[in-house]
């Protein structure tokens, strides 16, 4: 009897759950319409400006093809399908996308499942992920990926870039001539490829020194920052002459590295080739040893913050905001942008030394090492895929990825005689701020873009104006600290060194290289940190250090790198 009672109870409970389940499903369905207004908002936004000044360049497309797309977005972002650019693709190209996207940390598992499922979307948009050449080749070999090489004749925009820059052609062409994936390519002006190595002009003035041009001068300047009240707040001890944060990012020390004749933008593992085409690892040279010694001297004398390896970028930014930082890199630019005026900072370029008689900078490469756009071999609409990819390599297509279309999501504004993209009038009423508008309403924040265009950007503006206009309020208002980067690159006698090219390996090489290069860079990273902080003694332990590298198989690794380099350059 009692048991039966209990059974009914259990049954009742189950029933409740089933009902709960049902209501939950209903709940889920109810949610979708709430998202809908976004779409209507977007279409409204499309309508309004279009009526006034839409240039009708393209013929209306009669037949619309539907392509699927899966992408990865570094922020969660809004639905890509609802962006203004995607609506334009439908109108201009006759391609309607059905896109889904994931965040960067979901991506690795999701991509694996896409392959496991054998249900690849027509387009893989991976601008924010890191598919290596090795992975690309592996998937291509398994027959997953679409080969673009037979369609090259239908891809004038891509062809133009390949002809302009053989490095790009090298990057996308596999040994057998097929083309499966595309790294992002930047057509932007040089200033976009220089780091933000901010030096405080105000502090220099306060300690009465000139901008340093040699390594020795840099040391003297940092020392003066340390010893004197460089920020002029009355406390001579609160200055951090050179700030570093985070272990392996940002490259705060790059100008010092270049000054030692090591022209690289890697954190460690600096490959360099001589004129005969012999590849060597600079991390084992006297140059690098002296670089470590120099850094160690700075660290030891507290010219670099002692907590360099544990502090976060945010904390460093907070220190910069208090005006306690004299020389630091990359993204403290946020503080520079918002807190200081133009004349308080300048961007450093490079220093001279015995190793590097000219002031030298290394710019970022024009092309990414990872592959950011690919397509499925099983696509039903190869023509449409080819059309879209080639369109992405056109200037208009490139702008559509991160900025949108003129007259639809932005207008062009003349600044110092140069046209610059301007969003005024498009976002103010409905959206919280311009950036949210640009990346969730107008575009998907370059989520499926492979080309960074120059035209209309601030880099184009900076490149074209003369020295005087560069420093004008008008230009600073749109370009802020980027002005300082452009200015830095205009330094007299500056040598711009090309970085070591991206190398491409055979399948065998890749396999052998994977563990070797992980082992060695991992070790080089920790060795660099320990040498700089003085945990390890550079002079005493250098030979042992080199010995360890050999034990890890450095020689073998260099043979692989040399082979890949020789293949690439023909030397």
């Amino acid at each position: 009897m009692k048991l039966r009672n209990r059974a009914t109870k259990v049954f009742a409970v189950l029933l409740v759950f089933v009902m709960l389940c049902g209501s939950m499903a209903a709940c889920g369905e109810k949610v979708d319409p709430t998202d809908a207004p976004k779409a209507t908002d977007a279409s409204k936004a499309t309508d309004a400006p279009k009526a006034t000044d839409a240039p009708e360049e393209t013929e209306p497309v009669t037949e619309v093809v539907e392509l699927t797309m899966v992408g990865v977005d570094n922020a969660k972002g809004a639905d890509w399908n609802n962006t203004l650019s995607f609506a334009e693709y439908e109108k201009r190209l006759g391609i309607k996308f059905d896109a889904t996207h994931y965040t960067t940390d979901q991506w690795a598992s999701k991509l694996t499942l896409l392959f496991a499922n054998d249900e690849l979307p027509d387009i893989l948009a991976m601008t924010n992920s890191k598919m290596s050449r090795a992975d690309l080749e592996k998937y291509a070999e398994d027959g997953y990926l679409f080969d673009f090489s037979p369609y090259l004749d239908q891809m004038p925009n891509l062809k133009a870039i390949m002809e302009n820059d053989p490095a790009y052609a090298n990057a996308i062409t596999m040994p057998d001539g097929s083309i499966y994936g595309f790294p992002t390519y930047s057509k932007r002006a040089a200033s976009s490829k220089h780091g933000y190595y901010f030096m405080s002009q105000k502090w220099l003035d306060n300690v009465g020194m000139e901008r340093p041009e040699t390594l020795d001068e840099l040391y003297q300047v940092l020392k003066a920052f340390k010893e004197q009240d460089a920020n002029g707040n009355g406390d001579p001890n609160d200055e951090i002459p050179m700030g570093m944060a985070g272990s392996s990012s940002y490259g705060h020390e790059f100008p010092i590295l270049w000054a030692h004749g090591i022209y690289s933008k890697n954190y460690t593992y600096h490959l360099q080739a001589d004129e005969n085409g012999t590849v060597s690892l600079m991390d084992t040279t006297e140059n690098y040893k002296d670089f470590l010694k120099y850094m160690n001297k700075l660290y030891d004398e507290e010219l670099i913050n002692k907590d360099a390896y544990v502090i976060s970028g945010d904390e460093l930014a907070a220190i910069a905001k208090e005006d306690r930082l004299g020389f630091s890199s990359t993204w403290t630019n946020r503080c520079v942008d918002y807190t200081y005026d133009t004349n308080e900072w300048y961007v450093e370029v490079g220093f001279t030394s015995d190793y590097s008689p000219e002031r030298t900078v290394v710019l970022d490469t024009k092309l990414n090492t990872s592959y950011n756009l690919a397509a499925s071999a099983d696509t039903k609409y190869p023509e449409a895929v080819v059309k879209f990819v080639d369109y992405s390599f056109s200037d208009e297509g490139a702008l559509s990825g991160g900025n949108g279309y003129e007259g639809i999501s932005f207008s062009m504004k003349e600044i110092a005689g140069v046209g610059v993209i301007d969003y005024t009038g498009y976002w103010e009423d409905k959206y919280e701020n311009q950036e949210i508008y640009r990346n969730t309403v107008a575009t998907n924040n370059s989520g499926c873009a492979v080309l960074a265009a120059n035209e209309g950007t601030i880099y184009a503006l900076l490149e074209q104006v003369d020295d005087e206009t560069l420093r004008s309020d008008e230009v600073w208002a749109v370009a802020s600290s980027n002005v300082l980067r452009e200015e830095a690159l205009r330094t007299d006698g500056l040598v711009i060194e090309n970085p070591f090219p991206n190398l491409y390996y055979t399948e065998e090489e890749t396999k052998e290289r994977a563990t070797l290069v992980t082992d060695i860079t991992n070790y080089l990273n920790t060795a660099k940190a320990n040498f700089i902080t003085g945990e390890w003694d550079i002079d005493a332990e250098w030979d042992e250090h080199l010995e360890k590298l050999n034990e890890m198989g450095l020689e073998r690794l260099l043979v692989i790198e040399q082979a890949a380099y020789s293949r690439l350059t023909g030397k």
Binding site: T112, A134, D307, I311, A514, T518, Y523, A529, E535, M552
Partner: protein, 312 residues
């Protein structure tokens, strides 16, 4: 001859009778067995990937077999002894310090007289379990920060030198372990606390009458009550000696402490960044399993010798 056959028959008959008479017990196990077969055993063939050069499209049966090549890649790595040592250090510390503390906490909580206070303490102690690893790690870093971390402020207050905890490889294991205890002690103690609930109150009363001290009661009554649970938990813990999770260690890592903080799982993650390779990570997983199983079986054997009880 005949007799032996009869005996055999009898044994078999007995066994069958034993099984048949208890069929209801097997029915009770049925859902679990079914679930395990369908969701754990059915995809288990995936372990073969470890011996292959696995290609997704060719599948398990179409990929090339490479024998032990994937294992060799792990063993040949210069870092292998380092990561093995670090992994073992972290988990051994967990076993030696992290394991007994929740037991002690459960025994102490059991001694608190005020029920409301006790519930409060318990609720508080298990809340850190919910703070996600990312946030926990930022709390740890902030706490130990040389610039304005609480610990260093205490040290300098007493006239000491600032310590750069996160920059020292030798500190890493302690930071990891202590923060692990901090976050997990309340949570882990729940099982022991629950086991204490089955202590016979009559026994405690009898002990009171005999004039036993509180410590004696804990030692002779409470502790023996939870020993079986402790043994089971200990054996299980031994069986995961190489399975140190990657997320927390990875987040607390920096270039300075790498020699002390690189463990198997973080290393595999880094190799995977270079080239995604299921075969390699599966091989490493299998290596972990083999070591874990050996330790588990030894622990179980030892436990059977010493306490006369084990898992199987």
């Amino acid at each position: 001859m005949k007799r032996k056959a009869r005996q055999q028959y009898k044994q078999r008959y007995n066994f069958r009778k034993k099984v048949l008479s208890k069929w209801q017990l097997y029915v009770l196990m049925l859902p679990a067995v079914l679930y395990t077969l369908l969701f754990s055993y059915k995809p288990m063939y995936g372990i073969l990937i470890a011996f292959q050069d696995f290609r997704v499209r060719r599948g398990i049966w179409g990929s090339d077999w490479v024998g032990l090549a994937n294992f060799e890649r792990l063993f040949d790595s210069y870092w292998f002894p380092i990561i093995l040592k670090n992994t073992l250090t972290l988990s051994t510390l967990g076993l030696v310090i992290g394991f007994p503390l929740p037991i002690i906490l459960a025994l102490l909580l059991n001694e608190l007289k005020n029920e409301k206070y006790r519930t409060f303490v318990q609720t508080v102690s298990y809340m850190p379990h919910f703070i996600s690893t990312v946030v926990m790690c930022s709390i740890i870093t902030m706490f130990l920060s040389p610039a304005n971390g609480v610990i260093n402020q205490i040290i300098t207050f007493f006239g000491g030198e600032k310590l750069y905890f996160m920059q020292e490889a030798s500190w890493f294991k302690w930071i990891n372990e202590i923060s692990g205890i901090w976050q997990g002690i309340g949570w882990s103690s729940i099982i022991y606390y629950a086991a204490l609930s089955s202590v016979d109150s009559a026994l405690l009363e009898a002990a009171d009458i005999d004039g036993a001290s509180r410590l004696q009661k804990i030692w002779y009554i409470n502790l023996p009550e939870i020993i079986p649970t402790v043994v089971v938990m200990f054996i299980l813990r031994c069986g995961s000696i190489l399975s140190v999770g990657y997320e927390k260690v990875y987040l607390l890592q920096n270039d300075m402490n790498l020699i002390g903080s690189e463990i198997i799982s973080t290393y595999v993650y880094k190799v995977g960044l270079e080239q995604s390779d299921f075969s390699f990570s599966t091989a490493v997983g299998l290596f972990n399993t083999v070591v874990n199983c050996v330790i588990l079986i030894s622990a179980n054997w030892l436990s059977k010798k010493v306490t006369k009880s084990g898992l199987f």
